[in-house]
Every structure is written in C-alpha cells, then in structure tokens.
C-alpha cells in the first residue's frame, strides 16, 4: 500500500481543478467533491497535516478530514503584483525625493504615501530594501507599525534604527529574503 502522503500527492496531481481554477471557493468545493469520490476518508484518520505542493497549490488535510484549499498560486501572484508595484514606487521615490534636503518634503511624495497606505503587507518588502538602501524607509515603518511595537523607539540615529528594525523583522517574519 502506498504511504498516505504519496497517495494524496498522486491524487492531488490528478485533480484538474487545482491547475485550472483561480477561484478559491470554486476550487475548494470542486476539490472536496473530487476527494470524497476518489479517497476513502478512513485513509486520513491519523492526526496528520500534509502540505502538498502541486503546481504552487497547497492542500491541508487534518485528522477530522476537514479539507482546506489555500490557493497559494493566487496568493503568490498577488504578492508578485504587490512586490512589482512596491519596487516601481520605491525606485521612483528614491530618485525623485533625492532633490530635497527637507525630510518632510521627501516623505510627502505620492509614492511614499501610497506605500505607507498599503499597510503591514509591505513591511517585509521595506525591510528587504532597507538592507541595501541608504534612503529613509524608517519613517514609513514607523507609520505602519504601531508605536508600541516600534523596535527603534528612542534610537536617534539611522544605523542603530536600521539594525533594530532588521532584527525585529527577522524575528517577526523569520527571515527576510
């Protein structure tokens, strides 16, 4: 008998809905129906969490046979879009704001404000940029992350604040690519 994991992977690969559908709800419903038809729930009785990676799609199974499809392909594509937009705005901000000596003028640039407006989802991207850029991305972080959580609170110099944020980022996001 095939081990449970291999069996599931094989089943998932054969499932046509994973590859075709971009609609998470639809894919989830179709996948559930398909699994009920093709897999005996008793096969999944052990407390078990399998993350099956098939064409960027992760499927989580647990012992009570609750099945959840998280469309990582959709998430991944959303993140790629976000990263692309972030990089375009960040590059433009770094270039255009450089004409100013006034820090306030740098920070009211439309792209910088739009980046802040995207909230916590852009924090890993800002931290990644902070590793190589000498521009002041700290103001954006200070305005996205709550004051209580600000790891650079009270640090009055750029280098020290950058180190504190990167350390905080490594803990919070495990690693910053």
């Amino acid at each position: 008998m095939l081990p449970e994991r291999i069996k599931l992977e094989t089943a998932a690969r054969k499932n046509p809905f994973i590859k075709k559908s971009e609609d998470i709800t639809y894919a989830k419903r179709e996948l559930n129906d398909w699994l009920v038809e093709h897999i005996d729930p008793s096969d999944l009785s052990e407390k078990y969490l399998v993350v099956l990676q098939t064409t960027h799609t992760h499927i989580h199974f647990s012992d009570n046979v609750s099945r959840e499809v998280l469309s990582e392909s959709k998430k991944s594509s959303d993140f790629e879009k976000l990263e692309k937009e972030f990089n375009e705005r960040a590059d433009r901000w770094e270039k255009e704001s450089s004409i100013h000596s006034s820090p306030g003028e740098k920070f009211i640039h439309k792209d910088y404000l739009r980046i802040i407006g995207k909230g916590e989802q852009v924090v890993p991207l800002i931290l990644k940029r902070l590793k190589t850029s000498k521009k002041d991305w700290l103001f954006a972080l200070e305005n996205i992350i709550s004051e209580d959580e600000n790891p650079a609170k009270g640090i009055e110099n750029f280098k020290g604040a950058v180190m504190a944020w990167l350390e905080w980022g490594n803990k919070k996001y495990h690693s910053i690519a």
Partner: protein, 173 residues
C-alpha cells in the same frame, strides 16, 4: 557639464548656464544647508525633531516638526556661523553670502555665493552645482529666495557685532 537628472526636478535650470564639473558626488551624508553653512561635511543640517543624532543643529535652537520649520530658526542657525541678514545677493568683495529659499515661509533650500560671484548649491542628495544666478534653481521644489545672509570671508565679526559685544561686556551680560 549638465546633469539631466537634476534638470528634471529644477524646471528652470535647463534653460540656463550652470556647471556640474568639479563637484562632490551624490551623497546623503550632507545636504544643502550643511553645504551652505560649513561646506562639505559628514552630516546634514536640519532642525529635525526625529532622529536627532543624524541631523546637526545648534543645541540652543528648537527642533521643529516636518514641514513646519521656520525661517527664523534657519536664520538663527546661520547666525551661529557669523551670518547676518542682508538686503541682496550682489557680490561684495570679502563678503560671503547665502540665499535661503522658501515655500509659504518654510525653508526648502540654501545656496552659497563663491568669491567669483557664482552660486553653489547641493541639490538634496544629488551633486552640488554651480549656477550663475539664483532664479534657475527657483521653482516648484525649492520655492523662491526670500532672504539673503552675509558674513565676512576672513571670519571676523562685522563692526556692528563688535560694538554689540563691547556693549554687552560693559553691561556685564
């Protein structure tokens, strides 16, 4: 040599003569105010009330909120290096002049006059440029020149300041 990048942001610069030769490289290490007050240095000058260690500012002068900086504060800061308000930017032998640019009264930029009469500006994080007159650097980003300051190039105080100093000593202040 021209710098098209700077011309993109100083909309009146392109149609005038200016020079980017023999200048400092792009750097965030100092800004136009530092460059006007003390020349090339390793710290920007700004009355920033945030990350105070990164911005030089005379300790007895107030730190101010972004975009609410006051011209008076800048005049006082230049004053610590011997600058006093004067009426114009005309070249005068032995005198160094500075022009402060503002938008709605808020300082945005400063340029310093060289002995030749040419002005020199550090354009934010970009390189410094030499411009023959002030209007080419005025515009949407730096606003207009609203005040001129001057000091003696030999570092000595003006006669008026000498007299004030003597009076203060006599009064025991």
């Amino acid at each position: 040599m021209r710098c098209l990048e700077i011309e993109d942001y100083l909309e009146n610069l392109g149609s005038h003569d200016y020079d980017q030769d023999d200048t400092s490289p792009q750097t965030e290490d100092y800004n136009c105010i530092a460059y006007a007050i003390v020349g090339i240095t390793n710290k920007p000058w700004w009355p920033s009330d945030r990350r105070k260690d990164d911005y030089e500012w005379p300790s007895h002068l107030p730190r101010e909120e972004y975009l609410k900086e006051t011209l008076e504060n800048f005049i006082q800061a230049f004053g610590t290096k011997g600058y006093r308000v004067c009426g114009n930017g005309k070249l005068k032998k032995g005198i160094e002049k500075v022009a402060i640019y503002t938008i709605s009264g808020v300082p945005k930029h400063a340029a310093r006059q060289l002995e030749t009469g040419v002005w020199t500006s550090k354009c934010g994080d970009y390189e410094d440029i030499k411009h023959y007159t002030l209007p080419p650097t005025e515009g949407k980003n730096y606003g207009k020149v609203t005040v001129f300051l001057h000091r003696r190039r030999d570092g000595k105080p003006f006669l008026k300041d000498k007299i004030l100093l003597i009076v203060k000593k006599l009064l025991g202040r």
